[in-house]
């Protein structure tokens, strides 16, 4: 059940309506029950695993104060869960126990244990309690709700218990919450169904059937994949934030116009913010703080370790290793040349130069994302080699447009142009659209316009999952 399935739309409508009518003191029990049903809907193994793991972390947190060995044990179990999740997620050889009446898939069980976003929250919780920056939660039901709150359960945003649990007792739903939440939800649906899912087939065509395309085609597909991933994941986040707001909760935003970044380090402060904050707080800062006497070397080691962990989190394999190496190189270069770059950018501080920096950063990110998207390391290398030779296609239509406008009919070509036009317009005006959505006044023009665009151009029943659901 993904956020854009008809079943989920029915489910969320009923949940928001019932929750709104309930007295505030009963709401968290209701949302907790809904969360458990949501997790159980995937499979029963997931529900059992999540409940067991939540109990484990809840009770362990009460014992770890002043007990370093137990704290490290807790971290190791959660970290192992993430590694196992990535291992079982990337292999098809699951273990299967079958009894006469009950069939139980052990790999599904382990996969659920390690749902990465959920495990990261547990690591943050244990660390905060051990460091005495927060007190261990005393109410089990509230901790379970924090763990299984369905808008953030699958793909975040990653939140600390203190940021979420404090909202349970102060749950208030005003008309402004409902308006802003609905407008955010609509924005997310638009980004996913009208933009991301319409870009997906062209990207898939080049990345998965890559043999005979020209360099320009591959380059355009690499650009489109980065844009697709941005719309896909930020669309998911908008939907999660919108649903949470209609249920009376505020979640952290994950994106701050990342494709307008003028440096790669700025890109990482604007992209998947809750995850990067987690990595910065629990990996980067502790490492660099301990090594701070080594001056210039400390941040380089911090970057190296952070991206190594990030690579394991995204998936174990050469493609993710290469993706991480790209960003390690970019960030180390930026760290070592910071002063020279600052002087340069102050000297050439005009719109044209800024656009040039944005273009360079966008290209660097797209280059690393070739490894991120490719099915294998060899495929990624082949695609990069393709960009380097035979760049201009002999026949513009057959060489460039046809492979991206999948289908081969005139209507597919028209669809491609419309998608690119909508994507570019959205990127140009996204700040203004964001202001409309986050305002507390209902904007009828925005709602009607979005609904019409979704009805006319939306991809229904595409079957594509959200990209970040795999992590």
């Amino acid at each position: 059940m993904t956020f854009i399935s008809p079943l989920f739309i029915l489910f969320i409508t009923i949940v928001i309506f019932v929750n709104y009518l309930l007295p505030p003191r009963f709401r968290y029990v209701f949302i907790l029950s809904v969360g458990l049903v949501f997790v159980g809907f995937f499979n029963i193994e997931s529900l059992i695993a999540v409940l067991l793991f939540t109990l484990f972390n809840f009770y362990l947190a009460k014992l770890i104060l002043n007990n370093r060995a137990l704290f490290i044990f807790g971290l190791a179990v959660n970290a192992l869960a993430i590694i196992l999740f990535n291992y079982f997620n990337s292999t098809t050889n699951g273990l299967h126990f079958s009894f006469t009446l009950i069939s139980f898939q052990i790999d599904k069980f382990i996969v659920a244990f390690g749902l990465s976003f959920y495990s990261m929250q547990n690591i943050a919780y244990l660390t905060e309690v051990y460091s005495k920056r927060m007190i261990a939660e005393t109410k089990l039901a509230k901790y379970v709700l924090y763990s299984v709150f369905f808008p953030k359960f699958i793909s975040g945003p990653v939140m600390l218990p203190v940021e979420f649990i404090s909202q349970i007792d102060n749950n208030v739903i005003t008309n402004n919450n409902l308006i802003r939440g609905f407008q955010l939800l609509l924005l997310g649906v638009f980004k996913k169904m009208v933009l991301a899912d319409r870009l997906a087939p062209g990207v898939c065509s080049v990345f998965d059937y890559h043999s005979n395309y020209s360099g320009l085609t591959t380059l355009v597909a690499a650009y489109l994949f980065t844009i697709q991933m941005y719309f896909d994941f930020s669309g998911y986040t908008n939907m999660a934030l919108g649903m949470a707001e209609m249920l009376g909760f505020k979640l952290k935003d994950n994106f701050n116009f990342p494709l307008r970044s003028t440096s790669v380090s700025e890109f990482w402060r604007r992209w998947h913010i809750s995850l990067i904050s987690w990595f910065t707080k629990y990996i980067y800062y502790p490492v660099v703080f301990r090594l701070r006497d080594y001056k210039k070397i400390a941040p380089l080691i911090g970057i190296l370790l952070t991206f190594f962990v990030s690579m394991i989190w995204h998936g174990i394999g050469f493609t993710f290793l290469a993706w991480a190496v790209c960003h390690i190189i970019y960030l180390c270069f930026e760290s070592l040349t910071r002063k020279a770059r600052t002087e340069f950018s102050e000297r050439f501080n005009n719109s044209l130069c800024k656009m040039l920096y944005i273009f360079i950063v966008f290209n660097l990110v797209c280059f690393s994302n070739i490894f991120f998207r490719a099915n294998s390391f060899d495929t990624a290398l082949h695609l990069i080699k393709t960009i380097g030779c035979n760049f201009i296609p002999d026949n513009f239509y057959n060489g460039l447009i046809a492979p991206i406008a999948v289908g081969g009919h005139q209507i597919d070509e028209f669809n491609l142009y419309i998608t690119i036009l909508l994507s570019v317009l959205f990127l140009l005006f996204e700040r203004r659209i964001g202001n409309i959505v986050s305002s507390e006044r209902i904007n009828i023009k925005y709602i009607i316009g979005s609904v019409l665009l979704i009805m006319i151009f939306g991809v229904f029943n595409s079957g594509t999952r959200f990209i970040y659901m795999q992590f």
């Binding site: 800062y285 703080f289 760290s335 002063k339 600052t342």
Partner: protein, 78 residues
Amino acid sequence: MQERLQKVFRKVFNNNNLIITLQTSANDIKMWDSITHMELISEIEVEFNIVFSFDQVMQFNNVGDMLMTIEKLSQNHK
């Protein structure tokens, strides 16, 4: 003390005209990111001859928080 701290900020951020207030935070200085933050911490420790704990560093939200901790540690040092 604020002037000495300002001197450290100017050195780390390579800007001789930089003026800090108690409310100045990472949002106000373009170059103040996770990389320069730790460099700043290290330079402050050298300038004031103090040693921060990791928890203290994690709780800095602005220059005011930094100054309060520096004052506390300097007094302990005396």
